[in-house]
Symmetry: C2
Subunit: 803 residues, 2 copies
């Protein structure tokens, strides 16, 4: 058994000169951090500080910043001594000043923002822009070079870090985790990512748990459990913890240097054993626990209250303005001068050469590592021809096939063709089989790097499928994978993708912002395949029914989001091919997994998906004239019910002119001025008419369609059926009945809007009501839909049949 606690080694890693230099570098970063929070001018304190030099609105988070500056400086050292390929992940991302300061010091900042030059003028701009209108955010934002993780919402740093190192065997991500973030659920389970990491084919994450004691105004849980408990916890998570604790800079520099040397040594040793000696035992990777005061080196006491080391150091510790006590200004000046800027910067305001030398060079600088600008490294996927996976559709509605099972074969070959670069992975919470993508396991496995047992299936130390029962992990891993220049797909039950609503938000905001940053290169799209949908939850019922993720998604910027609802397998193939080739979008694909009727040949499907919306002439009988009604469908089940309704209508009312419209690309419904996929009013009216009833069977919540079409000419004739939170464990068809989306209700909807049909209409309406009663009798008696529902298929001749 290992010893319980691992004391920091006591030998001295740094020579006196090294110590002095690294301390000076840290002071420089701290100075630049405080400067960013406070100074509008006089950046090097060449004159006495006055209120005119101070920003009017003081913003920023000081608490975490000096600790991160400390870490960054020490990481620079080990990068240089070991020639490491390292990315810095700032979990406590509120510490924006730290990463900005450090990338400025190492030069990478000015390379992408030349106006923030390496001199006094540049310093002044660097300070002013921070948390200033038109400037940069107080977080580590996408504008910060070297960052792939924005510190807005907390919880995802560790899963982003793991996503970054999968298939990047040369990479180390140093992931700083704040003790606040460590309380979140996603972070708490992300520690287990080490069971999914392969020491041969993946890189390494070096977590640095930064305990500064407080979150906003409360203490942090992990800072207030015993050393023994924390040690047990991290060991229980499968790591080897190393503790660096204290506040005296000299001792802390030595301890941190020694600990980092140990950790890097251990990482190299594990990798060597795995890669050269073939030792496949799951390693206990090192984790560093850095316990340092919140607001370290900041004011001890402000207005008689302790500051450094307390929750009061969280944001801007010292308020300085015309209305605050005058001694605050002096206290700020003495705080700034405590870093001795004159000993750090030369006359021109450039960092002294002996300090600048401490930073790594070129791409080894963490602000310039290409992995943190993944678009630079992104390579196109080798794509099989999706048309070769087509389901044969001799006649619409005759063939039954599973849409996702079909696309699974296509995905299998995407994996196969990209096994060499190994830059495509599928993520999901143990639903890849349930979602019928089983074909992928013909060529790959689920990556699993812990114990296996007899009867396990499709597990291997490396594989292209990542499954952990945490949507947060799947999303976080995938985001990290994409942000470092690779490709991927998240497959999930439709209802539970809401678990990552907020993560999606942050990623969509990242994409929106990075579109506007010239030096950021586009990355691969974030692709969701949502299945096990609301309509087919006969196994799971009401709790598993929620089609609202797409409502959530389209609140984000139009240039980022895309939503597809392919009605059949061939359309899904075409859509998937398109999404995997696309860049810098979030693509949401909603598709069925159960065997279902197929409508379009591959050629027709390709054309239909390219257009995104279209009249299905083979299902319509309004050729060359205005229809009496437009039956519109979007989604697989609504398409089936619509075609069934049309079949009934045409059998009984052959003279009625029905136009059938199917929508694959939901955002076609928006105005072209709102979304680049949107139809012009003229094109929209040509499809939906300006005054005929439109009966719209929609996969999701019906009001989403109204939100998209409220400003179209024919809005007042639009009648939308969709899911309205009814139904639970019942048959697939009954779900449509309970939500009034079934064929019988759709027929009645048409009849209700065409009073001119008179008695014929009334007769057919009564027939529909009788059918609904008959259906209920069937399911309540033996748990099945009536045979004519079950066996129903749209066939070209069915229009001739009577019901």
């Amino acid at each position: 058994m290992e010893t319980l606690t691992q004391e920091p080694q006591t030998n001295t890693s740094l020579s006196p000169t090294e110590l002095q230099l690294i301390h000076a570098y840290w002071r420089a970063a701290n100075y630049l951090s405080v400067g960013q929070m406070y100074l509008l001018d006089n950046p090097l304190l060449r004159e006495p500080l006055t209120l005119a030099h101070i920003k009017r609105m003081l913003l920023g988070h000081w608490g975490t910043t000096p600790g991160q500056n400390f870490i960054y400086a020490h990481l620079n050292r080990v990068i240089k001594t070991n020639d490491l390929n390292m990315v810095y992940m700032s979990g406590p991302g509120h510490g924006g000043p730290a990463v900005v300061a450090n990338t400025y010091l190492e030069g990478s900042y000015s390379e992408v923002y030349p106006r923030i030059s390496l001199d006094e003028a540049g310093l002044k701009k660097l300070f002013k822009q921070f948390s200033f209108p038109g400037g940069i955010s107080s977080h580590v934002s996408p504008q910060t070079p070297g960052s792939i993780h924005e510190g807005g919402e907390l919880g995802y740093s560790l899963s982003h870090a793991f996503g970054a190192v999968f298939d990047n065997p040369d990479l180390i991500v140093a992931c700083v985790i704040g003790d606040g973030e460590a309380e979140t659920g996603p972070l708490a389970t992300a520690w287990h990512s080490n069971k999914f990491l392969n020491p041969v084919s993946d890189g390494v994450v070096l977590p640095i748990l930064h305990l500064n004691g407080y979150k906003i105004s409360n203490p942090a849980v992990l800072a207030r459990i015993s050393h023994e408990e924390l040690d047990q916890l991290l060991r229980g998570y499968g790591w080897t913890p190393y503790f660096v604790e204290g506040h005296d800079p000299e001792q802390m520099h030595q301890a941190m240097a020694t600990t980092l040397d140990t950790a890097i040594g251990q990482i190299k040793q594990i990798q060597q054993e795995a890669r050269e000696a073939g030792n496949t035992t799951r390693p206990r990777w090192p984790v560093i626990v850095l316990k340092s005061p919140k607001g370290w080196t900041g004011p001890d006491v402000i207005d008689g209250l302790p500051n450094e080391g307390t929750f009061r150091a969280h944001q801007v510790p010292l308020s300085v303005s015309a209305t605050t006590p005058p001694e605050h200004l002096a206290q700020l000046e003495s705080w700034l001068r405590s870093y001795k800027p004159d000993e750090l910067f030369d006359e021109q305001g450039r960092l002294l050469p002996e300090l600048a030398e401490l930073a790594p060079q070129g791409d080894r600088r963490m602000g310039a590592n290409p992995h943190a600008n993944g678009g630079l490294l992104l390579k196109d996927l080798h794509m099989p021809d999706f048309q070769e996976y087509a389901v044969a559709v001799p006649l619409p509605g005759v063939t039954l096939a599973s849409d996702t099972q079909t696309v699974g074969r296509f995905l299998r070959d995407v994996i196969k063709l990209n096994q060499k670069p190994h830059n495509f992975r599928i993520f999901g919470p143990d639903e890849t089989l349930s979602n019928k993508l089983e074909a992928v396991f013909e060529v790959t496995n689920r990556q699993w790097d812990t114990e296996t047992a007899e009867n396990d299936q499709f597990l291997a130390p490396t594989g292209s499928v990542m499954e952990m029962l945490s949507e947060h992990q799947c999303e976080g891993w995938l985001e990290g994978y994409l942000l470092t220049g690779r490709h991927g797909l998240f497959n999930s039950y439709e209802a539970f993708i809401h678990i990552v609503d907020s993560m999606f938000n942050q990623h969509a905001k990242w994409l929106k912002t990075t579109r506007e940053i010239p030096w950021r290169r586009p990355i691969a799209s974030l692709n969701y395949l949502l299945t096990s949908t609301v309509w087919r939850q006969d196994h799971n019922g009401f709790t598993h029914q929620d089609p609202g993720f797409i409502d959530h998604v389209i609140n984000k910027k139009a240039e980022i989001v895309r939503v597809y609802l392919p009605p059949d397998a061939n359309c899904l193939l075409s859509v998937m091919d398109h999404c995997l080739r696309s860049r810098h979008y979030v693509n949401v694909i909603v598709a069925g997994k159960h065997p279902a009727p197929q409508w379009l040949s591959m050629d027709a499907a390709t054309k239909h998906c390219t257009e995104g919306i279209g009249i299905w002439p083979w299902a319509s009988n309004d050729q060359a004239m205005e229809p009496d009604a437009v039956m519109t469908c979007c989604g697989d089940v609504p398409t089936l019910e619509t075609l069934a309704a049309v079949s009934i209508l045409r059998a009984h009312l052959p003279d009625l002119k029905i136009r059938v419209v199917n929508i694959v690309d939901l955002l076609k419904l928006e105005r072209h001025t709102e979304h680049s996929h949107g139809l012009t009013d003229a094109d929209y009216d040509a499809i939906f008419t300006r005054n005929k009833p439109v009966i719209f069977a929609f996969h999701g919540y019906p009001w989403l369609v109204h939100r998209l079409t409220y400003n179209r000419a024919n809005n007042s004739n639009m009648h939308v059926r969709g899911y309205k939170e009814e139904g639970t464990i019942t048959t697939a068809f009954d779900m449509t009945v309970l939500n009034e989306l079934d064929r019988f209700h759709l027929v009645m909807d048409v009849l209700d809007r065409l009073p001119q049909l008179g008695n014929t209409g009334s007769y057919l309406k009564q027939l529909m009501k009788d059918k609904l009663i008959e259906h209920k009798q069937y399911i309540f008696s033996n748990g099945e839909d009536m045979p004519e529902i079950k066996n129903w298929a749209w066939e070209s001749h069915s229009v001739e049949d009577s019901l």
Copy 2:
């Protein structure tokens, strides 16, 4: 230091007779579980099994079920021997058959569903209804007596359990956690709830981590780490683990009985030490790890493949139908008969008396515990008179006040008045101070039961404020608290409440379903106070901007959801009072925290909030005639900008007739046929006119208004401004400019719709454009809005002033 591993004690707790009886009870529960999955008839196997007795569609999750039956039987034993007040929480809630079987065996099921009688006829109905149209779900659903936790989405059992025991010192929640669920983020952090539990004033959670090795088709992480690691992990989380591992029933019964006796003994000892001896050291409560085969006692091998103990046992292990191998039927029969139903049930189909006696009596039965039907225990809050907290508003727009700070004083007194029953708590992720509810700390503290340090603030072993940096925990704790009959409030930053989108979904579904269950009593509403809103993120920027939670919420059933956007402090007081008194809703309140102009006196605010929407006559000049335009506002910042715009319009165009409408209750906009709060078309048209331009300044995403109003007469004249994902770190006013919701844009919107204004209109429009340019110059030069913006307040005389 404690020993690292705690072996199950080896002494024998059960006498041979007790062993035989508890084993028989378990067999009975297993028999009923298999029966529910398979049998349509012949429930006691009184005749040879034929296909006619088998359901046509076989649904359910067997894997977890026998383990849960085992746990339930053993909990019954310790409840009886110790007279415990215990609730059962089924984390692996897919094991619906287990809880249904056990509540049936103990009699509580038939008490609420008399038609499911305790005889053969009842058994037949019990079996048929499971996962059958019109019957019950395959999960532990709200229909199941004794449950306050639905096993739809995984992750929340442990936080629900803790929520249930806060302020319930007599209660123990036995919380079964599946090894699948244990991988989720929320569950991974919920283990830390023990740092927030007070052994004197709160009850206890006894977690039972059920490792059966697999989630759906993958192994589970916690089942595949070493015993040592798992032990360390649980100790690191602050618990004392006890392991029960094996598959031999006899040994397992003895081990489980012994371990439960030990755990209950330890719980009592801790409570006694805390309550009688005043020992306040944070205890290491016991946790039980039960490692048993998945699908325990099910078929060993099916079609040549191992089943028991493998992932294949997850759902229905053995398919039996006309198309499956005929030997499956025989295998099912022999499986069912392996439980020896003849030795368990009498001639009439009743459980034998010596077995029935093993269950507790009356309310001690876990299916009848009133804490699991919280509405039974719910008491009205003692409410202070909210009007006494009013902000004085002598004239609209003159007084500045913080809305949430004002309501904080009201909440303080709600806490104070209910300190005796202690049935009201506030939950939040360390934002209660940031959200300006600091007044509550005059009378209470943040409950914190681990180490404290000098300079901590507002921490105490008991308190009414619960803060952990995990929205999942806050939501889960609050849900558990409400479901057991108490009251509460969640305060959060608006943007990050999306973290619990999916939890909200499940709770809203629970409320919808329980409304329809007669024996379930209504519970207190789930109240959200969302602040630090999208418009005031000068400190945090783009990542903290998302007003879309309300979009998400109103997709749920109209009878459950309510959304309020009070424009000022007095309105917030009225709304909060209303929400805290309400039952069985989800109330979302969006309010500002920054000092802002106040509009309505308390009387006017009460009237306005009661109506939910109204014309503000003091701000309008369309008395007794049709207005030229309707300026509508919803939310505090939009209200300010609208009134500022009106002020400009009236100064320049005094003859223009402007009507000002303010909305507090967002769902007033829906048709009354869709939502009980909705306006009739007549009332709506009386406010919004049928044909005048409506300029609508909305707090959230603008299309939400369109989704609510698309079918109103005046829809085509509705022009909505709202947040459209623009802006980041900048001034509050600039945020409105970037999203075009500011006063200048609103004025231009009116002008654009009134071409009859001619040159006067053009002149004013140019003036507005100039003002926008001037504003930009101000913020870019010194980081402030121009003084006239900053100091602007709506005053009754301002309409006379020129701009």
